[in-house]
Structure formats: structure tokens, C-alpha cells
């Protein structure tokens, strides 16, 4: 149960949310992403001082183990779908696929992806529309060393222009962030 949590972040910044299992890290991220309602309290995202309506698709990119993708689609189709859904103008699919080592697997259906490959694809889908706020729930889970390196290389490259919030129990993921909140 989350109680009395209050904080404010401005561009650029990075925040780690740590805590034991069941302390509410995922819940807090979901509330920030706008997919869960807090029982009491508010979340406000400002862009030119206008208040946005939940959930704020264009503002956040979300990665989570709870996210399930369409088994019947290929990576290429999913990326195209995500870009069209978010009205992304630039087509950086090739770049991101190469970054995360999935170029050779772009035409494979997701039912044939390993969990590590699926996690890489989730990262691509969250980052490809270049949202200003990145919400990552245990982003390193299922990723091998190369996958993690690719992920943190990307995060490092955009650190100066985004708000990055990582919910994690992994030390190196938490250490990446400039600030930290401990729950539970």
C-alpha cells in the first residue's frame, strides 16, 4: 500500500524506486504512467503548463514484465503499429532494431521470440517514439549481458533530455539514477 508519496521531477533527471517485493514499485510506476488511478492524490505532467488527460500516450514510454505483446505479429509489424498509434513522425525502426540486436529477427513472429528477445523488443517499442518520460519496471529482467549493455548505452545517450524512472532491485540499475526513493 502506497501512502503519502510526494515528489517533483523536472527535465532532465533520473530516479530509482527501490524496495522489497510487494512494496508498490510497480503500482507507483503504473500510477505515473496513467494506467492506474490512485485512491487519493494527483499526478500532473506539465508541458507548456497545460494539464494533460490520462493516460498520456505521447509523454511516456513504459517497459514492464507485465506487458504482453501480440504473438501473431512480427517485430516489424509491431513497431509500425506502435509508431502509427503514437503518431511518431520519424521512422527509426532500423536504427533501434540494430541497437538492440534484433535486425535479423524483425520478420519473425513474436510467438517464436525468447523472453530476452521479447524484452529487447519491449524496450524498442517504448523508446522508438522518443517520449520525454521513460518508466522502466525492472528493465534488465530476462536480458543477457549484451542486452543490458545496449539498454544502458541508450539510456546514457538520452539521459540529458529525459526523465528516467526505474523501479528495480538491481544495484547497477539503481546506481544509474541520480536520485532514489525507497519504498516499504
Amino acid at each position: 500500500m502506497l501512502r503519502d508519496i510526494s515528489f517533483s521531477l523536472s527535465l532532465p533527471s533520473s530516479l530509482a524506486i527501490t524496495g522489497p517485493n510487494g512494496s508498490g514499485k510497480t503500482t507507483l510506476l503504473e500510477i505515473i504512467a496513467g494506467i492506474q488511478r490512485p485512491t487519493k492524490g494527483t499526478v500532473r505532467l506539465f508541458r507548456d503548463d497545460t494539464e494533460l488527460r490520462r493516460p498520456w500516450h505521447h509523454e511516456t514510454g513504459y517497459v514492464s514484465p507485465r506487458l504482453r505483446l501480440y504473438d501473431e505479429l512480427t517485430a516489424q509489424e509491431l513497431i509500425e503499429f506502435t509508431c502509427a498509434s503514437r503518431s511518431t513522425l520519424r521512422n527509426r525502426a532500423d536504427e533501434f532494431l540494430a541497437m538492440f540486436g534484433l535486425t535479423g529477427h524483425r520478420k519473425k513472429m513474436l510467438s517464436r521470440y525468447s523472453s530476452g528477445m521479447a524484452q529487447r523488443l519491449k524496450c524498442i517499442l517504448a523508446f522508438i517514439s522518443e517520449p520525454p518520460i521513460l518508466l522502466l519496471d525492472e528493465p534488465g529482467s530476462n536480458l543477457d549481458r549484451e542486452g543490458k549493455e545496449a539498454l544502458f548505452r541508450y539510456l546514457e545517450s538520452v539521459r540529458s533530455e529525459r526523465i528516467i524512472i526505474i523501479a528495480t532491485n538491481e544495484k547497477e540499475e539503481a546506481d544509474f539514477c541520480g536520485e532514489r526513493i525507497s519504498l516499504g
Binding site: 494506467i35 493516460p55 507485465r66 501473431e72 505479429l73 509489424e77 503499429f81 506502435t82 498509434s85 503518431s87
Partner: protein, 219 residues
Amino acid sequence: MVKTIIAHIKKDFRIEFRNRYAVSVSFSFAFTTTLAISLAAGGIPFSPQTHAVILWVIMFFTAMSGLAHIFVREEDRGTSLFLRLNSPALAVFTAKLLYNVLLFFVLQCMILPVYLFFMQLDVQSPLFFLGYVFLGGIALSSSLTILAAIVARAGARGALFPVISLPVSLPVLWVVIQGTSRSLGRAGFSSPGDMVFLLAFSGTITAVSYLLFEFVWHD
């Protein structure tokens, strides 16, 4: 927004085409039911009124077996979270509405010949008969889409969907059953007022569904 909606339509049709779950299950249901009735009737001719009632009962329950699938699938597979994060509700609903309308139209095109064949149906006013069937189909499928979204969030869906759909479908069913029976029985039957009613119903219900969908879709 148009591009987004088209992307959603493409996605839904692509997945259904690769899966073909909804069409096959619903059509099997309609086919089996028609056969069962034909068998049970044993060649006894039905009045136009009886034919109209049976035909629309089959159509209604075919709708019950197939029209919830497009939303239920998202909830069951867990992909609804992905949709909620990435897509505007308007695009989601439009794609699923169009999918349902088209799916039901295809199902009706498959059911009608089967019914005409096995039940020896004699249509006196074919134009209005088809008008009632297809406009009634549009009215039903457009009104049931938001109910499909509602039922996908609940448990006990198989039983719940007919329970919540019936009160809403009754105006349509009453009009089409009466109209179908008259177009079957009477040559030269014409009733443009009913067609207008069905269109008005579809339009109003769709508009209200758009207003309400966000409340059903988002937490």
C-alpha cells in the same frame, strides 16, 4: 488520427486472419443450430412469422458467440495493457467497431444461404428482406461492441454477454423480426420507415458508445 485508426484496423484484421477464431466458431454455431432446427422440423413448413423469429434468434446468438471476442481476446492474452499505453481510445474503439460490423456482415452472408437452403425459405420481397437483415445486422453489431468491451472486463462472460445485450437489442429485434416476417410473406412489401429507424438507432447508439467507451476502457 486517421493513420492511427487504420493501423489499428490493420492490426486487428491481421491477427484475426492469422487466427480465424471468431469466424469459424460463430459460423459453426449458426450452421449447427440451423441444421438442428431443420432436422427437428422434419420438413414441416413454417409460417413467415416463425421463420423470422427463428432466423433472428439464430443471428442474435451467433452475435453472442462471436462479437465479444475482439475485446475478450485482448483481456485474456494480456495485450490490453499494451493497447492502453500506446493507443488513443478513439482509435481502439473505431477499429473494433468496424471489425465487429464487418465480421457480423460476413457471418450473415454465410448464414443466410445455409438457412435458405435447409429451411426452404421463400422470400416474397427480397429487397426489403435483405434490407432488414443487413441493416439489422449493422444495428446489432454496432450496439454490441461497447457491451463487448464491458463484458471483457468481467468474469462469467459467456452467460453475462447475452444478459446485458438483450435489453439493448430488443428494439432492433422487434422491428426486424416483424419486418422480416412481412417481407417474407408479402410480395411488394415496402417499409422505408423501418430502415430509417434502424439507421437512426445505429447512429445514435454508436455516438453514445464513443462517449462512454473511455470510461469502460480506462481504469
